[in-house]
Symmetry: C2
Subunit: 423 residues, 2 copies
């Protein structure tokens, strides 16, 4: 077992019951305050541990890191040490925060420097993303989309059960939770018989996803096997792959989604390490037909992550509109990474790979408005009595995710953004 | 007229007749030598001008640049000054190299430092590419592909005449001319009735393209109009968008090409500024139906760039297999950039955008083996007597491009790469 995962650990930092961030989590992020420039932080309860100050005070000696790793405005530099370096760092922090360790706990003047209340920090983009890839790995989602847009009798395309289908997205428009988004404009065809018009999207949607962040991979020309893949994955966050369905349906044949997606994609600020998620490994669905040999894998490669989506209309309460789980995904991250590199494509430190929309088998577990309202034909009723076919101006969409067993809850916090009217 | 474009200019640096790099070109690149670390260079004739040394010697005073701009291993930092800064720099260099200017010309000890024979340098990747987008803007190419893979009677998809269709590619696998490439492996279906197999691609192809490189754009949420677009374009290079047709045809529905493209994409080392291409502006094809208003533009927005593709089998002579021209493209760069940002998508300094395969209307102008051999049904005969349906192991593919009028020739040099056997 990874030392920092021990379920019996307790911290001297107060962690509220049901917090996403107990001492067994310790996710990494970038934060700033009125007085502190952007730097690396680790979340514990409702506090952020300032790793730069911790390093300066000498608490991170004998780890493979330098000051510049912690005062960098992105986690990429820290991640250059790879899986082993990050594991060492997380174990060290776990030790420092352990209720039985007095080193840091007993030094009030140090605590004032290194521990900052979450309400006093502003979170920043955690990663300088190199390339962003999005997969399409939920069988239920792919089937739903196929039923609506193609042939209900042959909803799943012939390649879907063979290939962890994916495509390239735009890295420049991946933004942090909390940054609001103007409704995108583009070519749409409200009447299929007429010519397209240029107008704000009328079918603005979210996609409930998670994303993983990679360490530096192998050289161009080499591949990463399914059994090696986890060594190249730093951690995960929540991911809302915003989608304009009307722009998408007109543009996507034959080269895939483009402007319907690249106006904005939101991520949650804390990267939960794959190590922290280790206790929640589960088997994914049975894969039938048998996959080609380069996609075969050993052991449990999926994760039991509860996910939910909420809509909050302007100045109203939230309504939960979807409850799903990452474990429903047909293709796992190790298969996605093995497939992505099987042609020799290289991955770099800080690449991001989205899971694809995470839908379950029941209608309340569908991960997009497109599916939840079945293309707008079954509007959702919100707590405030209003209906939604798609996302309206001034709606805030919130996604939350957490793992939980009898001992511990490891959460991601949330990703949220409000849709502003088109510019 | 831009001062550096004056066709009557002559340089004291010898420029061979028919060189791609007269004093009216002055493209930017990154080079290194045995003794010099990677840095910014400008090409003239068969020499590279070392801008770092030129700066240190004081020849670039009163330009908006610092030493670090020239000793950077990528052009991105230099490009932060935008169109105006680069124009100033190119004009200054033009002046220094002018046969009538003695400043640099007369100082032999300076010349030895700043002017390096091309045979003594190694070229490096010129740009740290943020996002890479590829368009699909040749009507002839899109029609040919549609005829082969879809419906010959309705070859062009309904959206093609309305949208400058594009998709996101992978930035990490854009490589420099001269770097060889292993034949990619992937899922292919040699027999459409059978299950897919995992094997080296049997239908490896090139795509003749050019690419443009952007300056920093506007903020996320804002758009760049067709009339503003050229202010955001630094320059162009040659681009070979390598494609594995058998992997592509199995994977591309519904999300577009992925592993069939992202094993490698080759660019030429010199970025020819849009300023240098200015004398070769021409009108593109008439666009019918009329485009939507955000795609309307004024003036000539295409460029008359002669392009050719050659195959050189191992230890044999080259065969020219395609002669095309950039001016055939239906959608121009200004429209591509306006479309790309019309939903608020931001572009950054160093983004790269491919034109899409550049095919003309005659069979000898088709920009890919797929089209030249009509899916392998009409093999090409090479000079050495061998035939090609697609690219074989140890074949080198070379692309060249240049503009030419009665006064001057502005060229791109070449992009080439050899295909090595699968690993």
């Amino acid at each position: 077992m990874i030392a920092a995962n021990n379920p019996s650990l307790k911290s001297w930092v107060e962690v509220p019951p049901n917090s996403d961030f107990p001492i067994q989590n310790l996710p990494f992020g970038i934060f700033k305050t009125e007085n502190l420039s952007p730097r690396v932080g680790v979340r514990i309860g409702n506090y952020v541990l300032d790793l730069k100050s911790l390093f300066v005070l000498g608490y991170l000696e004998n780890t493979p890191f330098e000051l510049s790793d912690f005062e960098s405005p992105f986690l990429n530099q820290l991640m250059k040490t790879g899986k082993e370096g990050i594991r060492q760092l997380r174990n060290r922090i776990s030790k420092l925060l352990n209720v039985n360790q007095k080193d840091l706990q007993s030094k009030q003047h140090h605590l004032e420097q290194v521990l900052i209340a979450i309400d006093n920090v502003e979170m920043c983009m955690p990663i300088q993303i190199g390339d962003y890839t999005d997969f399409y790995s939920s069988k239920e989602h792919a089937t739903n989309v196929g039923m609506m847009f193609r042939d209900p009798a042959n909803a799943l395309l012939p390649n879907w059960l063979w290939i962890p289908v994916g495509y390239h997205g735009r890295a420049s428009t991946v933004i942090l939770s909390g940054q609001n988004i103007h409704r995108p404009k583009g070519q749409i065809k409200p009447n299929p018989e007429d010519n397209p018009i240029f107008a704000p999207s009328r079918m603005l949607d979210f996609e409930l996803e998670t994303a993983f962040i990679t360490f530096e991979g192998k050289a161009l020309g080499d591949s990463i096997s399914t059994n090696e893949a986890e060594e190249f994955i730093f951690g995960k966050c929540l991911f809302n792959d915003w989608s304009a369905r009307d722009i998408q349906s007109w543009e996507y044949v034959p080269l895939g989604p483009f402007l319907s997606k690249n106006f904005a994609s939101s991520i949650s600020p804390w990267i939960v390490t794959l190590d922290a998620l280790q206790p929640f490994k589960v088997s994914g669905p049975i894969q039938d037909p048998a996959v080609l040999s380069y996609l075969e894998f050993e052991g449990e490669k999926s994760y039991d992550i509860h996910l939910e989506v909420l809509i909050q209309p302007e100045e109203k309460t939230e309504s939960v509109i979807c409850k799903s789980n990452y474990k429903y995904m047909y293709w796992n991250m190790s298969q996605q990474l093995a497939h992505h590199t099987v042609n020799g494509c290289n991955i770099r430190c800080g690449d991001m790979m989205g899971s694809g929309t995470i839908s379950g088998s029941t209608p309340d577990s569908f991960g997009s408005m497109l599916e939840l309202t079945w293309k707008g034909t079954k509007p959702l009723l919100l707590n405030d009595g209003t209906e939604r076919k798609f996302i309206q101006d001034n709606d805030t969409v919130i996604m939350r995710g957490y793992c939980k067993n009898e001992n511990v809850r490891i959460g991601f916090g949330e990703v949220k953004a409000k849709i502003l009217p088109a510019k």
